[in-house]
Symmetry: C2
Subunit: 194 residues, 2 copies
DNA sequence: GTCTATAATTTGATAGAC
DNA sequence: GTCTATCAAATTATAGAC
């Protein structure tokens, strides 16, 4: 067992991915450092060598996942021109992420970060959600969307899709996400388009 | 202090309301029974006299709040005829509840109940959310809404409003909820109406 | 029915060998 | 850099007086 030495980067990633899985399954507070240690097949000392504290581990995980989510949204928006296409690309990418990496999306959408990261900004103030608002703002400026408050447009345009993601993560959908996404997105667009 | 004896019902309600406030402020796991005891000005023994365990307290609170939320949504829907009016009445009532009893709405929308109440159904399967789906189903049956999957219609119709409530509870809105609600609801309706 | 005192575990974190 | 052993504090819950 301990003969198979892995690189420190590998160990660090193993700790992060194990913590993510357990945090999503049971929540941050219901997961002890001992649980992470056991699930990762490591020792307490090893975990505390890589992270100063349990909270520091959670913060590193949070930063990492916000970065991954930002990349997903950013790449989607950049690949298109119109607000309609940007928005739809984001919606499609979010759904794909929810199916391929449900833990990522779950942690971003569901976890109550401020309970264990007191100084973290609310998740809706982070870059991925700011980008969605920018798509709405661009649509209003270009005339694709009706003249309205940017926040209202953003909430109306993406609210249905985000709600759909919540339902998917709660396991209450009968079919795969893709079976609902097209119609939900179209309804959202129809609600704000001029 | 202990000369002022209150009724047992009062004590029970005091424990529940204190627990609700702390659970919303810090979360279930970050709130110890000792915290509740101190904030309520009671003793540990008194709390354990009224509730079998911390989890039983949380379950009683959960049941109580789902009941209150059900009443709010039920009364709103009953007071109107058309799907449009029912839906808008529900949206208005939810926003009023979010301003008058933010702790109630926060606990229902934000708390990760399944982390501490393992056998509780997902919140979106509870009666208040089922009623919203029924409003959408009624609208489709009557022809007010386009023909579509009931879940899609429900998500598209109420997704924006629920998203707006989340933002309000996260404290990222500049104005009172009422300043956004009208337009968000209208966009949702426009997205699904025939 | 409420109190104080305390038991039994679990938790996050550290020390020091290898 | 990883391990084992252990600590100090906090947590849920109980016992028993009043």
């Amino acid at each position: 067992m301990s003969g198979i030495r892995k690189s420190p980067e590998y160990t660090r990633e193993l700790i992060l991915s194990t913590a993510l899985r357990l945090f999503v399954e049971r929540g941050y507070f219901a997961t002890s450092v001992h649980d992470i240690r056991r699930a990762a097949g490591l020792s307490t000392g090893s975990i505390y060598h890589h992270f100063e504290s349990k909270e520091a581990l959670a913060r590193a995980l949070y930063d990492d996942l916000v970065k991954r989510m930002t990349a997903i949204v950013e790449l989607s928006a950049e690949s298109c021109q119109s607000a309609h296409d940007k928005g739809r690309a984001i919606a499609v990418a979010l759904c794909r992420a929810a199916e391929e990496s449900p833990e990522l999306v779950h942690f971003i959408l569901h976890a109550r970060h401020r309970e264990f990261l007191p100084e973290a900004p609310p998740i809706c103030s982070t870059r991925p959600f700011e980008l969605m608002k920018q798509v709405a703002a661009g649509g209003i400026a270009s005339g694709e969307l009706r003249q309205m408050d940017v926040l209202v447009a953003s909430v109306a345009l993406f609210g249905g899709v985000i709600r759909l993601l919540h339902l998917s993560l709660d396991g209450v959908l009968d079919k795969p996400l893709a079976g609902y996404l097209g119609d939900v997105w179209e309804a959202g667009w129809r609600g704000v388009s001029s």
